[in-house]
């Protein structure tokens, strides 16, 4: 696949932005500036980035409890995200949702979700609406290895297959659901093989290789747009941090230090950096400049969020029902 330099650099930029955004969030959480639950995507950036790069602005995504990466990759505003994490008035949910509920309806981001696999039928519904409205949009539905064991996964895939809905199911197989290794929760090793139960297309890709993810995404998005139905893509990847910030697991109760380190060595960003340098897409100076630009964007987002007031207490009562 021949990709132009600008596009490749944009992939890099997105991955790095996700990483830096979450490193910032991690720091703020450790200092108890961010309240509530925070699930980080560090190490898995190539999945959201490669997938969303194949989408149009008017396509939809559904996300998970680990959703910052999806949101940024689909074009989410990091200022509004950061403000939401800090519980501020101008956050995406006006402070009502926090990390696990961020959505941007205008960008087709149907929302992070605190309920594992809840995005799956919602994606199917979005796809059904696309079909009913006669559009050529598609839906990318992100979910985890753990989520693939919910009834919602199986019910959704069956419906989508039956009605040839334009959904790309993206399994982010980071190999654990909290402490449970995938081998202890799934009866099969490769989750994408569940495609056969529904006679749909599917494939497995290296989830730490952004170009591989993009390539798979591009093909399946094109198929979905042509009305050829859903696809199940499994991206093998790894979560570097604890299940949520605060899960220290210092004694390595469910995975080994060695395993974590091996995966850190396969960092999707470092790997792609090397590709970019080797292919002469960008120089080291260019990379440094991107880093600086991202730092500066992040700094602006932080300033926006920190200068933003908290909501008024009574705002808790707003927006429950549609009112004229």
């Amino acid at each position: 696949m021949q990709l132009n330099n600008e596009f490749m650099i944009q992939l890099y930029r997105t991955m790095l932005m996700i990483r830096r955004f979450e490193e910032k969030a991690l720091d703020l959480k450790a200092r108890q500036i961010i309240p509530g639950l925070l699930h980080l995507y560090i190490g898995e950036e190539a999945v959201a980035t490669g997938m969303c790069a194949a989408l149009r602005r008017d396509d939809y995504i559904s996300s998970t409890h680990r959703g910052h990466g999806h949101c940024i990759a689909k074009g989410g505003d990091i200022s509004l995200m950061m403000a939401e994490l800090l519980g501020r008035e101008k956050g995406y949910c006006r402070g009502k949702g926090g990390s696990m509920h961020i959505a941007d309806i205008d960008l087709g981001i149907l929302g992070a979700n605190g309920v594992v696999a809840a995005g799956m039928p919602i994606s199917g519904g979005a796809a059904l609406s696309i079909k009913m409205r006669g559009k050529d949009q598609v839906v990318a539905c992100f979910f985890g290895d753990g989520g693939s064991n919910q009834g919602a996964f199986h019910e959704s895939l069956n419906m989508a297959a039956l009605w040839k809905l334009p959904v790309i199911y993206v399994c982010e197989n980071n190999q654990y659901a909290i402490s449970v290794a995938q081998s202890r929760s799934c009866s099969i090793r490769d989750i994408y093989l569940r495609k056969d139960a529904y006679e749909i297309e599917g494939c497995m890709v290296d989830g730490n290789d952004v170009l591989a993810v993009y390539q798979a995404a591009k093909e399946t998005v094109d198929r979905a747009r042509r009305g050829e139905g859903p696809t199940l893509i499994e991206c093998k990847t790894y979560r570097w941090r604890g299940h949520y910030e605060g899960e220290a697991d210092r004694t390595y109760t469910y995975r080994t230090k060695q395993e974590i380190e091996e995966w850190i060595d396969r960092c999707p960003i470092k790997r792609f950096q090397k590709v970019l340098l080797d292919q002469g897409v960008v120089s080291q100076v260019g990379l440094n400049q991107i880093e600086q630009e991202i730092q500066s964007d992040l700094q602006k987002a932080m300033e926006f969020a920190q200068n933003c007031p908290f909501p008024e207490p009574q705002d808790a009562l707003k927006d429950l029902y549609y009112e004229e």
């Binding site: 605190g114 309920v115 989520g147 299940h243 908290f310």
Partner: protein, 328 residues
């Protein structure tokens, strides 16, 4: 008496019941290791090491099947203690709790028993937002065939959980996550059983009854202290079990004080407090010398930002305010 936390009391009950009866087993997500301590809150700490992986089963993330599988095993001689990690996901497990567990004995004309406990962490106060903070007890108190328990203290948690596990009926057992590690109190060692369906007067008084359960008991006790400073003698009553409800103890207290405030963390509208209020209105109307008051959450989901969550949650000050409205 030695003091332990709420979650340690839950854990102790599980240890004791598993040791006592080998039909008892644990079934849920991350119950073996969790975050290195047995479930996200440590409730199942040490069970896998002691009783082996056959009796402490990590399930896939499949709440509907966690509930349904437990019902099936309970029908045929086992005594599962199923764990739904957060009570918000009761919504996913609901079918088998409501349509299977609750109805089998009735449908099979008393021939079947379904001795299963569904434990789950409920409640707000930790900034966990809309999908990890609800108090859904009223979703299921309207389902005949279930027992519903919601302890407020470590000692009650231990005694009620042990009774729930020994009960031959399906029991839904709510544990408030805010209390888990924050509340440390004396808990009897060894055999300590509290019968389901018995309320407890946590503090006696003559002027006003406050009925509260779950994390709201702490707030009710604080409110009672505050009111006491102004000379109001408050009786604080904890139903502990919502189904079956200890009607007598509630009516007795209200007949004595003539005034009552009912407190729970769930939204007031449609909440279980309405059932208690109706009971009092029907059975003790002529003993009342002020309107029944309810203190609960507003009719919205639980918001994330601490400032919003604080506004949302009932607390001692809100209870005192309600008390002043009826104390003339």
């Amino acid at each position: 008496m030695r003091e332990i936390t709420f979650v340690e009391a839950v854990n102790e009950a599980l240890h004791e019941e598993m040791a006592r009866d080998e039909r008892v087993y644990i079934f849920g997500e991350d119950v073996r290791v969790g975050y290195g301590k047995g479930g996200p809150f440590g409730a199942t700490n040490g069970l896998a090491t002691r009783f082996g992986p056959e009796r402490v089963i990590d399930t896939p993330i499949s709440e509907s099947a966690i509930a349904g599988t437990s019902v099936g095993a309970a029908l045929w001689g086992m005594r599962p203690v199923a764990e739904i990690m957060f009570s918000d996901f009761l919504a996913l497990a609901m079918d088998h709790i409501v349509n299977s567990a609750a109805k089998m004995r009735y449908a099979y004309a008393g021939e079947a028993t379904v001795p299963v406990v569904f434990r789950m962490a409920c409640g707000a106060g930790v900034g966990a937002a809309l999908h990890h903070s609800q108090s859904p007890e009223a979703w299921i108190t309207n389902v005949p065939g279930l027992k519903v328990v919601m302890p407020s203290t470590p000692a009650d948690a231990k005694g009620l959980l042990k009774s729930a596990i020994r009960d031959d009926n399906p029991v839904v057992f709510f544990e408030h996550k805010f209390l888990y590690s924050r509340l440390r109190e004396p808990v009897p060692e060894g055999e300590h059983l509290i019968p389901l369906g018995k309320a407890d007067v946590k503090r006696s008084g003559e002027d006003l009854t406050i009925i509260a359960y779950g994390a709201m008991l702490q707030q009710a006790m604080r409110a009672a202290d505050l009111l006491n400073q102004e000379g109001v003698k408050v009786e604080v009553l904890d139903p502990r079990t919502l189904v079956p409800l200890d009607r007598e103890t509630i009516l007795q207290s209200v007949k004595k004080t003539g005034k009552v405030i009912i407190v729970h963390e769930a939204p007031t509208f449609g909440g279980f407090g309405g059932e208690i209020a109706a009971l009092i209105a029907e059975e003790a109307f002529y003993s009342l010398d002020a309107p029944i008051k309810r203190v609960g959450a507003p009719f919205t989901p639980v918001p994330a930002s601490p400032i919003l969550e604080k506004f949302y949650l009932p607390n001692a000050e809100k209870i005192v305010k309600a008390a002043k409205e009826i104390m003339e």
